[in-house]
Symmetry: C2
Subunit: 125 residues, 2 copies
Amino acid sequence: MPAPDISESEWILMEALWDSAPKTASELTRQLAPSTHWAENTVRTLLGRLVEKGALAVGENQSGTRTYQPAVSRETCVKSEGDSFLQRVFRGAAKPLLMHFAQGTKLSPEDVRELKKLLDQSLKS
Amino acid sequence: MPAPDISESEWILMEALWDSAPKTASELTRQLAPSTHWAENTVRTLLGRLVEKGALAVGENQSGTRTYQPAVSRETCVKSEGDSFLQRVFRGAAKPLLMHFAQGTKLSPEDVRELKKLLDQSLKS
DNA sequence: CTCAATTCACTACACATGTAGTGTTCTGCT
DNA sequence: AGCAGAACACTACATGTGTAGTGAATTGAG
């Protein structure tokens, strides 16, 4: 099961559902309206495409209305998008990527500690 | 001048040109053939689109054949792609992104030293 | 029971992308 | 001069994406 390809607009829906699911189409529409201004049919189209792609599973609530919930984990999708981004933009080299994003970011001392710890664990044996 | 949007196939051409430019369409075709197997017309179409987008500038070589060279720097494009990726997949939060890519990567001790130095410089004042 | 609101299935349509093919022009070689 | 091969302009066409509209089915409220 290769992780499905999720487009930009679709990510917005997925995020909302990873956040909490299941939800109905109209719930999602209402929830996202402030930021997206999407018509309900737009949301339904995107949901349909995500179901086709296997990214969402459908169910029903008590009232018999269709509900949607993620069928793939956020982790899986992040990994797949991340890998592809790493390849495309950094030719697969993680270090330049890390350098790029480490630069120009403001981090708290705890963040820095945490990241350093992770780096130590990535030491090539 | 917002950095142009560069698609996956287009990145491959841009990389070849950032690597060394200017080059003609057939030079690029020959150079990339082993990995891409693109017909020369495919390369020409992509080059044309990149010129339209303002990502490439055209010139001529001694024989009067058209040549192409980047009109935007790799840094600029990497930054723009990076920002959009950061937004889309990590909702703009750099730390989780760094954690994600720091995990699951093997780094040399020097890489780790270098990255730690960068992290120290990203300390929020 | 009836009508309006909700849900859904289908359809639409423009623009981006991947991947060429066709036809025309130019130019160096014989 | 005439032709083969390179270079270029234009066209093509399927699939993905953003963003809906239309019309049918269903259902709750009066």
